[in-house]
């Protein structure tokens, strides 16, 4: 595949890693904010190849992992209703709510469907005018334009049976929260390439300024990731504090203006709970009131559902990069992908699942 194969070229990747080795003079702690990058790093074993000075900590960038428990419970309640076709991205089916998950709802007769695109959910709404079609609109900035387009399209088509359950989170407030923590160890950030494809990277200079930490827009293939790490290390070693772009083929400073406009038309910023982390002010997006008729939380009257997370696993600390999955006493023992204690194990993009699946585990 063009734009994939050439970025997995082992010789090129090794050349860049060698350059990192030559550049680095002292230990640095970097965070890849994006779960997709965590997945690629562990899948290709990139962290094993880096010089020991470089420590990668995995960030909270998995929208499946951070979707709040309460919202999952709302999803389960809506999906259980006989008149509803509940559509979701695949990974969300595995996330446990307080008592059950979407698999159990499906097993009890709920019409739960995995879709590839939110437009597929809109098509289902057209095909089933007698049913309420609800789409579980989770995601970071990357997924926001597709999710809002489904609302705009439903509006254009005059659909009265389509709504979305929104759990949208944004990267900059999360970075702000992580760097504001007194426990913070992160000295440089790999910014999420596809979030930046949509949003550009104009939001980051103020954060770089405030925290005096370099940030580098980074892609997803092994070569992209080592290039992002190299660029970050070069900035750190040179004492430069700035935003750089190591994913130039896909990302511009301004981002995708039509997509940003669509987001602003349908969504507004709001406070958002992150599962395992807690409330981060203004870290999410919600539907604007003028789109209330597409708001599943209003349509199905689930606003009263409340859920408290129970204390067991260390997913919160892992999501914040304070701990690694194998630090967890439950990891690989009580907590496995098919029997997850925590959200980071639930998503195949979560740090624990990536570790469990790909890393050498000391039994």
């Amino acid at each position: 595949m063009k734009y994939v194969t050439e970025y997995r070229d082992a010789a090129l990747v090794k050349g860049v890693i060698e350059e990192i080795r030559r550049t680095v003079t002292r230990p640095w702690t970097l965070m890849e904010i994006c779960g997709g990058q965590t997945h690629a790093i562990v899948r290709h074993g990139i962290d094993q190849l880096l010089p020991p000075e470089i420590e990668l900590v995995h960030g909270p960038g998995c929208p499946v992992c951070v979707t709040p428990l309460e919202l999952i419970d709302k999803a389960l309640e809506i999906a259980s209703r006989p008149d509803v076709i509940f559509c979701s991205y695949g990974d969300m089916l595995r996330v446990p709510g307080s008592k059950r998950d979407l698999f159990s709802v499906k097993a009890q007769g709920g019409d739960v469907r995995v879709v590839y695109s939110p437009l597929d959910a809109v098509a289902l709404a057209q095909q089933h005018p007698d049913k309420q079609v609800v789409f579980f609109a989770i995601g970071f900035e990357t997924t926001a334009p597709p999710n809002v387009m489904s609302v705009l399209q439903a509006q254009r088509l005059g659909l009265k049976n389509y709504s979305i359950l929104v759990s949208h989170v944004r990267v900059p407030p999360a970075i702000n929260a992580i760097l504001s923590s007194p426990h913070n160890r992160v000295q440089g950030f790999l910014l999420a390439g596809h979030v930046s494809a949509i949003m550009g990277y104009w939001e980051y200079p103020p954060l770089v300024e405030k925290f005096q930490i370099p940030m580098v827009v980074t892609g997803f293939e092994p070569l992209d990731i080592v290039q992002g790490i190299l660029t970050t290390v070069q900035l750190l070693e040179a004492g430069k504090v700035e935003v750089a772009n190591a994913y130039q083929r896909a990302v511009t400073f301004d981002g995708l203006k039509p997509a940003q406009a669509a987001i602003n038309k349908v969504f507004k910023e709001c406070d958002r709970k992150w599962r395992g982390i807690g409330m981060i002010p203004m870290s999410g997006w919600c539907l604007r009131p003028e789109f209330d008729e597409f708001n599943a939380e209003k349509r199905f009257d689930v606003a009263d559902i409340r859920a408290e997370e129970s204390p067991l696993c260390i997913a919160g600390e892992i999501l914040q990069g304070l701990k690694k999955p194998h630090h967890c006493p439950a990891f690989g023992k009580q907590c496995t992908p098919e029997n997850p204690l925590g959200a980071t194990m639930v998503s195949s993009e979560g740090a624990c699942a990536a570790y469990y699946k790909y890393k050498r585990v000391e039994a």
């Binding site: 094993q48 190849l49 698999f103 204390p311 919160g316 600390e317 992908p337």
Partner: protein, 355 residues
């Protein structure tokens, strides 16, 4: 933990759902959930030495018989009934023929049970039966008994087929998932993931098109050629649901050995790779219906490989790895970049990774 700045509520997660109370789709995905179901529900009730062996077929030696029998059964609920490269009938014959043959047996007789849904078109049934006839002919087996039931509209997806088969194990041959040994190499008969992606594409639910064909095929003649070539074939298994990764984990567990794979040697059709990239799948977990893995003593590997390559379904055979002492019961993969990672069994249902 506490943190004033980001107002941590506590490092918390909801308790998990092991799905012990009711069956969910993941129990049928061929991965760890399927294994746990078998171990918890079936094995304790039926326990006997043949079952506990844990292979895809059972090896039995009835009193007074000189030769060992290999017996297996397989149910088929594939949807759609017809897909590029095959259909439920061909699958039902090949699935059982292959399971029986994987103990080093020559499959002889099959039975077939049909569950038909009210309203099924007679033409559809006839096409499926004709396909079964052809597959049985190619495999050289006879379908000697059968059963038919009809259920009400909506209680089955057109038609389900359960086949059972029996074969005679070759004399002097001892093939089992428990026989992998240090010094064995791992041979794979061809590219992985074709069946899973072809069927997923044919379903149309995820909206992609491809020209991929399922690899569904009877592998008994391939196996006969391998056993002719060497007495040192220790393990044979077809990596169906759960894919190559799950099958190799089963073998590592049964044999109590480690398995080390070389990522770059594992053949994957470019279209399978592309579909997996698109959906966030790993080809190592995608189903096959016409491939096998073999563990063969290193000194005989070349002989077996060239015998395989002379057969129709073994043309793409390659060595993909070897048995190691450690880590026992686990599968490791050397990546193209030269690092090593654990390849685990499929957990539950394979779902598209969107985010």
């Amino acid at each position: 933990m506490t943190d004033e700045t980001i107002n941590i509520e506590g490092a918390v997660c909801a308790p998990p759902l092991p799905h012990n109370e009711q069956i969910v789709m993941g129990h049928g995905a061929g991965g760890r959930m399927s294994h746990q179901l078998i171990q918890k529900a079936f094995v304790p009730a039926f326990q006997n030495p043949a079952l506990q062996q844990g292979d895809d077929a059972a090896l039995v030696v009835p009193d007074g018989l000189r030769q060992k029998l290999s017996i297996s059964t397989d149910s088929h609920v594939v949807w759609p009934l017809f897909f590029p490269g095959g259909d439920i009938g061909k699958l039902a014959v090949c699935g059982t023929v292959n399971d029986v043959a994987m103990l080093g047996a020559k499959p002889l007789y099959l039975t077939a049970g049909f569950i038909l849904e009210e309203g099924l078109q007679m033409d559809t049934l006839k096409r499926v039966i004709e396909s079964m006839r052809q597959a049985a002919e190619e495999a050289g087996v006879q379908i000697v008994a059968g059963d038919t039931k009809v259920v009400q509209k909506g209680k089955a997806d057109g038609l389900y087929i359960t086949t059972a088969g029996v074969g005679l194990v070759r004399e002097g041959v001892n093939v089992s998932g428990a026989n992998a040994k240090l010094g064995d190499v791992v041979i794979l008969s061809g590219s992985i993931g074709d069946h899973g992606i072809a069927v997923l594409g044919a379903r149309g639910e995820l909206g992609f098109e491809s020209s991929l064909q399922s690899d569904v095929a009877p592998l008994n003649h391939l196996i006969a050629a391998m056993l002719d070539a060497s007495p040192n074939v220790h393990v044979l298994r077809d990596p169906t649901r759960g894919g190559l990764a799950t099958t190799l984990n089963e073998i590592a567990g049964q044999s109590g050995v480690g398995i080390v794979l070389d990522e770059e040697t594992i053949p994957v059709h470019p279209e399978v790779n592309a579909a997996c990239e698109m959906l966030g799948f790993d080809p190592l977990y995608v189903a096959n219906e016409g491939k096998l893995v073999a563990f063969v003593a290193r000194e005989d590997a070349e002989k077996v490989l060239s015998a395989m390559k002379r057969t129709r379904y073994g043309e793409g055979a390659v060595v993909i790895g070897e048995v190691a002492v450690e880590p026992k019961g686990r599968v490791l993969l050397k990546t193209a970049l030269g690092s090593t990672r654990v390849v685990d069994m499929l957990a539950g249902e394979m779902l598209p990774r969107i985010c």
